[in-house]
């Protein structure tokens, strides 16, 4: 037991610090770390080294090499740097490498050295050069801050959504600040810089001088400053070897320490953890590492080699040519259990379990001791928690075993915390493996979340491990396995040496119909890599046509896109494709394409009807659709043309089209209409009044009403109005004129083709019973009853009906018998009926 705490170093009264090895590095570094630009991503991220930086003034012919390693020193990428001089390197939260060049350009590389994109930090930098740059992380993402040759700062709080903000000027600043850092307060990024004995806080509008409270006097310059991982704390190192530690708001001092070393430290970083007892700062010089906090003594380590510090959420990683270590404050649970002579319940439980394995009765004694204090639950929890903080699997195991042992003596201990810890540790141990090289601690893992961890595995192309983790943790497919498979497929399509067929098949085999996988996304990636054919093959697997179309259009496979759009039944989609096609093809080809797609054609026609009439005409022309062309011109004759000549011309074109369509009826009708229009025009000129656009029937009626009988007759002859119509027409018109004399003449002109009942009806409609009766007598026998009833002669109607011996007529008359006046008639009918029945 005591040997376990051998590497524990106390700081002050309360806290212990320990440093343990994560990996022994066997990266084959040719140069010293101090000759390189170094960037290591937090959360056990990768390490980037840019050798041979320009500041060394070495032979210009030697191009520098950019190398990327995993945290365990496994090489991930190596490339010759061909761009300009680099000032600073840094990793974004998405694990992209940002290389800030002297000219202000920022080049973005992926984990595997693949160039992603670049952006610039503004024009001002071009002249003034970048002196220094920092990459920092906020809740918005990763930001870049630069210091230009003109001693001005520019920053962007999120490189994903680049918005450059130029910070205000420090008045009278002549030289570069001795040190500076970015702070993040109230969700706004600030710059804190030190010039001589003064500290300035900058934002985009103001520059204010600040003084740390309780700063020891006699400071003439600040050599180093460090802000903690969470931006909560700030440490300042002065030229007197004095370290001030306080809150980042500069409102409160935590403590101070004088190390009496006046040499500027190489690095200074905070070493804290969430809910830590002690806030400490790690300062590194060439060969010395010092942990200082609120204690008179500091912890000192000797550095054998060049080392580099990486601040983490809950500690500091220290790597060098040969090792990679982790320095952190011992977490409370571990401290309770492992502290020498600890009587904490967890410690007792661990002891009890050990004794139990040795088959010693002491196990029982320890257990009793815990139970008597009623602290068994707490003991189990402690053991579980402590297991999480242990790096070595054997220690994790023994702690978990103790927890599991203690659990046996508890009635109702919810098992999920134990189960979850086992699962988490298994995942953590897997990713900490040398080959994977992500040395996450438990707290970092919880902060990062499993989703992000999976993303990072995917980023490292560790698809099998990622999938195993998903399956092990039973993550829902959409979030887990299928997402990873989709990423895998996107990576797969980039393998240029494999044939399209093979890639497509391989992808389909793996992915199948896994829910949540979008084949169109994968196809888009394939197209992005210039593999159009592969993209088309992949799209075939996409079940949703709607997803296929946009990409097909992008790939200029418009006709295929049209087919897919029509299949989808989504007219909007069809329309999108149509407009694409319209711009892409010449008119003739476009129309030809439409011709083979009736659904698209009718859609486009609808659009043209409202928006592009001329195109509609062209469409019909193209198809030799003379019928529709005729209709089109007829419509045009109403809509567009005001003058009669224009209308007639349009109608003529229509008639020609109808002839071509072999629709003689329509052609003749159109010609009649032209004739009618001309005639109406003439009538208007000669007689005045309104004739245009009346129907033939109405034209004749108007003429009769106007007393132009001759003209009316002429017109009827010219247009061959059938007799029946003419009689109806004349009858109605004359009755309306109440020209009874003329009507009578007309009725006698020849035998009426419509009979005489209409005469009766129309006269009655004009309330002329007298005239009506005249005609009633001429009505044929079969309608006589009806006519008589119309003129109100019920008695006579009854006589006729009886004479006809027609049952229907009898009842009709009967239904017209009202009241007393027709009583006799009614009786008569009844009698007749009775007689008829007798017979």
């Amino acid at each position: 037991m005591d040997c376990y705490t051998a590497n524990w170093k106390p700081l002050g009264d309360s806290a212990f610090y320990r440093k343990y090895e994560l990996y022994s590095m066997d990266w084959d570094l040719k140069e010293e770390l101090r000759d390189c630009l170094v960037a290591a991503a937090p959360y056990g991220g990768p390490i980037a080294l840019l050798r041979n930086p320009w500041r060394k003034e070495k032979a210009a012919s030697l191009r520098p090499v950019l190398e990327i390693y995993s945290a365990s020193g496994v090489p991930l990428a190596s490339l010759l740097w061909k761009s300009g001089p680099v000032v600073s390197l840094g990793w974004s939260a998405e694990e992209e490498l940002l290389c800030v060049q002297e000219d202000g350009a920022v080049l973005v590389y992926g984990l595997h050295g693949d160039f992603r994109r670049h952006f610039s930090m503004g024009n001002e930098v071009l002249q003034n050069r970048v002196l220094d740059a920092r990459i920092f992380h906020t809740e918005f993402g990763s930001g870049v801050a630069i210091l230009t040759g003109a001693h001005r700062f520019t920053l962007s709080a999120n490189v994903g959504d680049l918005k450059l903000r130029r910070m205000s000027e420090v008045p009278g600043l002549q030289s570069a600040p001795s040190c500076w850092t970015t702070l993040c307060q109230d969700r706004v990024a600030h710059i804190l810089l030190a010039v001589g004995p003064d500290l300035y806080l900058l934002d985009h509008a103001t520059c204010s001088m600040v003084t740390p409270p309780g700063l020891a006097p006699g400071v003439s310059s600040f050599l180093q400053m460090a802000v903690s991982f969470t931006y909560r704390h700030l440490a300042l190192f002065t030229d007197t070897g004095y370290i001030w530690m306080g809150t980042a708001s500069l409102k409160e001092k935590l403590c101070e320490f004088n190390c009496n070393i006046r040499a500027p430290p190489k690095q200074m970083v905070w070493c804290t953890r969430p809910r830590s007892k002690e806030k400490a700062v790690v300062v590194a010089w060439e060969r010395r590492l010092m942990v200082v906090g609120d204690a008179p003594e500091s912890i000192q380590f000797v550095l054998d080699e060049d080392s580099y510090l990486v601040p983490e959420l809950d500690g500091v990683r220290i790597f060098s040519r040969s090792t990679h270590e982790f320095l952190h404050e011992v977490p409370a649970a571990s401290e309770e259990i492992f502290k020498i002579a600890s009587m904490a319940p967890g410690a007792l439980l661990l002891e009890a379990q050990k004794e139990y394995e040795k088959e010693s009765q002491k196990a029982d004694e320890y257990l009793r001791e815990i139970q008597e204090l009623g602290q068994l639950t707490q003991a189990v929890q402690q053991c579980i928690e402590a297991a999480g903080h242990e790096h070595r699997p054997d220690m994790q195991k023994s702690l978990l075993r103790a927890a599991s042992f203690g659990k046996c003596f508890l009635d109702r201990f919810p098992p999920d915390s134990f189960v979850r810890m086992c699962q988490d540790l298994r995942v953590l141990n897997a990713v900490r493996d040398y080959h994977i090289g992500i040395p996450l601690t438990y707290s970092q893992y919880k902060q990062l979340t499993i989703q992000v961890l999976l993303d990072r595995l995917v980023l490292r192309r560790l698809y099998p491990l990622a999938i195993q983790i998903c399956e092990y943790l039973r993550l829902p497919e959409v979030q887990g396995v299928s997402r990873i498979l989709a990423h895998w497929a996107c990576y797969k399509v980039q393998q240029k040496d494999v044939s399209d067929e093979d890639v497509a098949r391989a992808i389909n085999q793996k992915l199948g119909d896994t829910p949540g996988v979008s084949y169109s996304d994968i196809a888009a990636r394939a197209y992005g890599c210039g593999r159009t054919e592969l993209a088309i093959k992949l799209l075939e697997y996409e079940p949703r046509s709607g997803e296929q179309v946009p990409l097909l259009l992008k790939m200029k496979r418009s006709k295929l896109a049209l087919n897919k759009a029509i299949e989808s039944g989504d007219t909007d989609l069809v329309f999108t494709v149509l407009l694409h096609l319209k711009n892409e093809l010449n008119r003739g080809d476009f129309f030809m394409t439409l011709r083979n797609q009736p659904m698209a054609l009718s859609l486009y026609r609808q659009f043209c009807k409202h928006q592009e009439l001329e195109t509609l005409k062209d469409l019909y022309n193209q198809d030799d659709n003379h019928q529709e062309l005729g209709s089109f011109h007829i419509r045009a004759s109403y809509a567009a043309e005001e003058r009669i000549e224009g209308r007639v011309a349009a109608l003529q074109t229509a008639a020609d089209a109808f002839y071509k369509a072999k629709n003689e009826f329509a052609a003749k009708a159109t010609e009649d209409q032209m004739r009618l229009l001309r005639l109406q025009r003439r009538l208007e000129d000669e007689l005045g009044g309104r004739f245009l656009d009346l129907s033939l029937h109405d034209t004749v009626t108007t003429l009769i009403l106007g007393g132009h009988n001759k003209r009316a007759e002429q017109l009827a002859r010219d247009f061959r109005i059938p007799d029946k119509r003419l009689w109806w027409l004349k009858l109605t018109a004359l009755a309306e004129l109440e020209d009874w004399e003329e009507l009578e003449k007309f009725s006698k002109s020849k035998k009426s083709p419509i009979g005489y009942l209409p005469f009766v009806e129309i006269c009655m409609k004009q309330h002329n019973k007298y005239e009506a009766k005249k005609y009633a007598s001429r009505v044929g026998p079969e309608q006589k009853v009806k006519a008589l009833l119309l003129v109100g002669d019920v008695a006579q109607a009854a006589d006729v009906a009886i004479e006809h011996r027609n049952e229907a007529e009898l009842s009709l008359v009967l239904s017209h018998c009202t009241g007393a006046t027709d009583g006799a008639t009614a009786d008569k009918i009844q009698r007749a009926r009775a007689q008829a029945q007798k017979k």
Partner: protein, 645 residues
């Protein structure tokens, strides 16, 4: 005679949720344009909007003034134009601009429109006028029920795409009554069945999807017609994309039946004689309410009356044959009088009870009663003037297929006398469909007569009717069958199944006579058909004809499939589909299995609704109707008419 439901009839689902959903969404959209705003509403949306959100709700969400989007050339019929004039609230843009003082308040303008291109131009004119005047305002276009890409494109072409924000108000289902949902899309009929435009199918699928998320899942699904099939497939796709939501639920509605209007034009073309249908034919029921003119209200004012199940008097007579209605109403009047008369001889306490409890109800009933009596009188007056009996007789003859010559000359006379352009057209179509096309001589002469009577512009109408298969010419046998077999081959081909060639209907034969025989649509009656106690659905047409659409529904429900109806389906020349999900059906209660949603794509008539309600009572079903719009013969004909702009 009232129509009580069978005691075991299933309860209808509560569709008022649809109204709430639509209202909440609209409010949300209005709130997206903060501050005071003027609202421009498309005329067609006014009545539906009125049914779910009144002016005070709009005012609460900072709507200042209401305008109507006016599209001058859009009028389709004379009747329509009259309505527009009487409703005219709108101001021309120039007038509007003068009305709003410049720089006083920055109003937002909100447009609530159907996705139509001419609306986009209207909006563009307004916005561009603002630009010329140097005024900046916020513009928001809310498309209902969805936006179309073509509209956005027009906005872009007009150069205002960046100035307006576009939103969708997915208001596609308006509950007009407890059992009637309407999409209020009358243009569906013309767009799909005439122009071959499939845009609205997506809307239908969306609506079905909404219903199934709220009241679904639907275990059994039947459909007939190409549109039905496409809607069904699109709907399935939507369901699959969002799988899992309805999985665990118990189905509320057991069957869903999709039916294309062109499967049965005949029923829609007949004169309606059931009270509700007759009111629709005579006064036009618009969005569930009707404007009774002075001749009905017997005062000098018009009255807008909501016609639904809440109207106690109406709900008892809506499904009745008209001949019974008068008798019923007078009986009702007598009863009412008797109830009033009870007042005599009451003591003070009883009187107090009477006044506080019953009087209001009685008065209400009195008012409704007098309205419906007025309506009946008005209908009678109109119908006797037109010799309604003769008309009905002709229609029945056409349906039964005898005295065709007489029928034809009746139609001829009808045209010669210029009785009514729409009526004449309707009769021609009815003749054509029942006779499988007109014989060439009649086809030409009737058309010539029609053009002479009602104006040459109807040449275009005839071309439309021909394309829709409503008015066709009997072609010499050989050529037609050749085309027909070609088309039917195309239809069976899966790829071609998705194609709606507007011209395929050219070759479509109605085969009405054969279908009628097969399905026994003309009931054989010994003696008089008793309209008071109807025996079958034929009562909605005075016992002369069972509506084809309803018969199909009846038979398929009986068989739970299309089995044994192959011949009919072939004659109808439509593709059918059926789909049963046993897993879901097992979960369905026997009650929900008797609840049937019938979807009419292209509109349904009140007669069909009455007929199915009758069927439901007979068999213990309950029908729910979903239609793209309530239609009747006149609306059908108007949709096909071309009127010069």
């Amino acid at each position: 005679m009232a129509f009580p439901h069978r005691p075991d009839a299933p309860e209808l689902p509560d569709f008022s949720m649809l109204k709430r959903l639509a209202r909440d969404q609209l409010i949300y959209l209005l709130e997206q344009l903060p501050g005071k705003k003027d609202l421009f509403i498309e005329a067609d949306l006014m009545s539906p909007l009125d049914r779910i959100a009144n002016v005070s709700i709009l005012k609460q969400h900072e709507v200042d003034k209401l305008y109507k989007v006016e599209n001058k050339p859009a009028l389709s019929s004379s009747e329509h134009s009259m309505q527009v004039q009487s409703l005219c609230l709108s101001f021309l843009p120039s007038v509007l601009l003068q009305r709003i003082p410049v720089l006083v308040r920055a109003f937002g303008l909100c447009f609530l429109v159907r996705p139509r291109i001419r609306n986009m131009r209207y909006i563009a004119n307004l916005v561009n006028a603002d630009k010329v005047a140097g005024r900046t305002r916020k513009y928001k276009v809310i498309f209902s029920p969805q936006k179309f890409y073509a509209c956005e494109m027009v906005l872009e072409e007009e150069g205002i795409y960046g100035d307006v924000s576009c939103d969708e108000w997915a208001f596609s289902l308006l509950p007009l009554d407890v059992d009637l949902l309407s999409m209020e899309l009358p243009e569906f009929f013309r767009d799909y069945f005439l122009e071959g435009d499939q845009r609205w199918i997506n809307t239908v699928a969306q609506a079905l999807h909404l219903l199934s998320t709220l009241y679904g899942p639907f275990p059994n699904c039947y459909g007939i017609g190409r549109c039905a099939k496409m809607s069904y497939e699109l709907w399935r796709q939507l369901e699959e994309e969002e799988d899992g939501e309805t999985k665990g639920r118990r189905p509320e509605i057991g069957h869903i039946f999709l039916l294309d209007r062109d499967v049965d034009f005949v029923t829609a073309l007949c004169s309606q004689v059931v009270y509700e249908g007759l009111v629709d034919d005579t006064f036009r029921i618009k969005c569930g309410s009707v404007d009774f003119g002075p001749e009905v209200t017997s005062s000098d004012k018009s009255l807008k009356v909501l016609l639904n199940a809440e109207d106690k008097v109406f709900s008892e007579i809506r499904n009745e044959h008209f001949s019974n209605v008068f008798g019923f109403l007078s009986q009702k009047a007598r009863n009412l009088q008797a109830q009033y008369d009870r007042r005599r001889g009451m003591d003070i306490k009883q009187m107090k009870n009477f006044v506080s409890r019953e009087l209001k109800g009685l008065k209400q009933e009195h008012r409704l009663l007098s309205l419906h009596i007025g309506a009946c009188e008005s209908i009678m007056k109109k119908k006797t003037k037109q010799d309604f009996q003769e008309l009905i007789k002709t229609e029945h003859a056409l349906l039964e297929g005898f005295n065709i010559r007489e029928g034809t000359s009746y139609i001829e006379e009808h045209i010669d006398r210029q009785v009514s352009p729409i009526e004449s057209l309707r009769l021609m179509c009815l003749l054509s469909i029942t006779e499988n096309g007109l014989i060439p001589k009649d086809y030409r002469s009737l058309k010539t007569q029609y053009l002479q009577s009602y104006g040459p512009e109807h040449l275009l109408t005839f071309s439309n009717l021909r394309r829709a298969g409503l008015l066709t010419e009997q072609a010499p046998g050989d050529t037609l069958t050749a085309v027909e077999s070609k088309v039917s081959k195309l239809v069976t081909d899966k790829a071609a199944g998705k194609i709606t060639d507007a011209f395929s209907s050219l070759a479509k034969r109605s085969n009405f006579r054969a279908i009628s025989k097969k399905l026994n649509l003309i009931p054989r009656v010994d003696g008089e058909y008793d309209l008071k106690v109807p025996r079958d659905m034929a009562y909605v047409f005075s016992g002369a004809y069972v509506p084809l659409s309803c018969r199909i529904v009846e038979l398929v429900l009986e068989r739970r499939s299309w089995q044994g109806l192959d011949e009919v389906v072939r004659l109808l020349n439509c593709s059918e589909c059926a789909f049963t999900d046993m897993a879901k059906e097992d979960k369905a209660s026997s009650e929900s299995l008797r609840l049937i949603l019938v979807v009419f794509l292209g509109g349904c008539t009140f007669s069909e609704i009455s007929a199915l309600r009758f069927l439901g009572r007979e068999k213990g079903y309950r029908f729910i109707f979903l239609t793209t719009a309530v239609t009747n013969s006149a609306r059908l004909m108007e949709a096909m008419s071309e009127v010069k702009a």
